[in-house]
């Protein structure tokens, strides 16, 4: 029974990880940007939820749309002011890694200056409550965060699958030149995709604000974990990120229970090394030429 309990907790957390990684993989898929600043945007989303809860008592789940809108605007601003000018340069990929690293450092410093490095967590009533399903124990906070995360990913999938902008995003991901030739304004699509990716970071930030404690520099820990998830699934593949997230979250939960909590973080790094050695294109990626 214990193993089932661990797997269920792993699956619930997997949903949250999947949402955290979805924006990162979406941005990489369309724009080939390895956004090292993605987790700091998650932290910003978490701070928005934290302060709205602390100052106005607003439930972090309800503050999620506010975090998404705020982060969407911030994402667009960062893209327009910092990243777009490099579009078309021969060293675009390398430059964006450096630039997003600088963005992460800058926001890390700003958040540290504004809110100190104290650990924070929002504490709505359900965060300390649990659901009992027979012998299974489900922490309500994690359960809600997991369910909302999965719902948001389904909405994102439906948006990409059926909407006009979704078609344009998928087309740009698969073949940028061909997308231009059929009339897609790829510059606009790239800007909007970056905004959507960062809005998803904002949503996951609001949700993790009552699941994990956070502080400004925690994003360094998360970037390694998120990179493992999206590399495992196949860079730029949404389904890959989701499968990678569930898989690694369950394995990490099992490692944490049966080997030791300190070893669970290592799961992500080991997975990253292994997948790069054995199948560098990831589970759902195309074989590289």
């Amino acid at each position: 029974m214990e193993i089932l309990q661990v797997v269920v907790i792993g699956l619930v957390l997997g949903g949250v990880y999947a949402l955290m990684a979805s924006g990162l993989t979406l941005v990489f898929g369309v724009m080939k940007i390895i956004n090292l600043a993605h987790p700091i945007f998650i932290i910003i989303g978490a701070y928005i939820a934290y302060w709205l809860f602390r100052l106005y008592g607003l439930d972090p789940i309800l503050s999620m749309p506010i975090a998404m809108i705020g982060l969407f605007c911030l994402g667009i601003a960062v893209y327009k002011l910092i990243l777009e000018r490099e579009a078309g340069s021969a060293r675009y990929a390398e430059m964006t890694v450096l630039l997003t690293f600088a963005v992460a450092m800058t926001f890390d410093g700003l958040l540290g200056f504004m809110f100190t490095s104290s650990q924070r967590i929002t504490s709505p009533s359900y965060a300390t409550d649990a659901i009992l399903l027979g012998n299974l124990f489900l922490p309500k906070g994690q359960f809600y965060a997991g369910i909302i995360s999965v719902s948001l990913i389904i909405v994102l999938w439906a948006f990409l699958r059926y909407s006009r902008l979704g078609y344009a995003i998928r087309a740009t991901t698969q073949n940028r030149d061909a997308a231009q030739l059929v009339g897609v304004n790829v510059a606009l699509v790239s800007t909007l995709t970056f905004g959507i990716g960062i809005a998803l970071a904002g949503a996951s930030g609001a949700l993790i604000s009552f699941v994990f404690s956070f502080f400004p520099s925690r994003h360094w820990e998360w970037i390694a974990m998120l990179m493992s998830l999206i590399v495992l699934g196949g860079m730029g593949k949404l389904l890959g990120a989701v499968v990678g997230a569930f898989l690694l979250a369950v394995v990490a939960a099992l490692v944490s229970t049966y080997i030791g909590a300190t070893w669970s973080t290592l799961t992500f790094f080991l997975a990253l090394f292994l997948i790069l050695l054995v199948r560098p294109q990831g589970l759902f990626g195309e074989k590289m030429e």
Partner: protein, 243 residues
């Protein structure tokens, strides 16, 4: 015959690199098949990229129906009615045949009209209709090329530019491809073909243009180019037999 598309003194190149086109002139008449030939590196594909807006012109003018179109974005050029089918990688590999056609009509806002046009195109290409739910990457090379061409028809363009339509295809499929090109010309479409297989391209064209080192050396009726002994020696192979 009135010209539909005109390029005058077009100079272009990639990034900060040297000029690939060094002053190309091109006149394309309405309702004709125009074939551009020339050796590798002559700038044939580059010229199509400049016309379609994928690559900016450093100098020169391009007009379509009398309106200037140089240095417009590709989506703006498309809205004027000019489509490019690139040499390779024209499709969205993970989308189905129908989704690729839907992307072909991306600029059409009216959904009913869009689906009507997709159905029309599928009627023209029964093999694609059969495979409409198959992913583009699972099609054969010839079918993929057919899909890339048919996708442009969804927007009912005035000019379709085909970059090496015969590349890598079996002779039977190449013949089919040129039959389709003739069919489209007979329906009033203007077609520009860049073709490495110069004899095949010129035999199927009304007008020809020989490019070399980024400039056009000769323009004229395709038959005249095929019959010109100097051009035959330089660009069509010395002993080429033209039927």
């Amino acid at each position: 015959m009135p010209s539909l598309l005109e390029a005058r003194g077009v100079v272009a190149g990639y990034g900060r690199g040297p000029d690939i086109l060094t002053g190309v002139n091109l006149t394309v008449a309405s309702g004709q098949v125009q074939c551009i030939i020339g050796p590798n590196g002559a700038g044939k594909s580059t010229l199509l990229k400049v016309i379609s807006g994928l690559l900016p012109a450093r100098q020169g003018h391009i007009t379509f129906n009398g309106k200037s179109i140089e240095n417009l974005r590709p989506d703006q050029v498309l809205r004027h009615g000019i489509c490019l089918v690139p040499q390779e990688g024209a499709l969205f590999p993970d989308m189905s045949v129908r989704e690729n056609l839907r992307m072909g009509g991306y600029i059409i806002d009216d959904k009913t009209e869009l689906h009507k046009r997709i159905d029309e195109v599928l009627e023209m290409f029964p093999i694609l209709k059969e495979r409409s739910s198959q992913r583009a990457k699972s099609l054969s090379g010839g079918e993929q090329r057919m899909l890339a061409l048919s996708r442009t028809l969804v927007v009912r363009p005035e000019i379709v530019m085909l970059d090496e339509p015969s590349l890598g295809l079996a002779p039977r499929i190449v013949r089919q491809m040129f039959e389709i090109i003739h069919l489209l010309r007979d329906r009033g479409l203007t077609i520009i073909v860049v073709e490495q297989n110069a004899i095949m391209g010129l035999k199927n064209a009304n007008w020809g243009c020989v490019l070399d080192l980024g400039k056009n050396l000769f323009d004229g009726p395709a038959r005249d180019i095929l019959d010109d002994p100097r051009i035959r020696e330089l660009y069509l192979g010395k002993k080429s037999q033209v039927a």
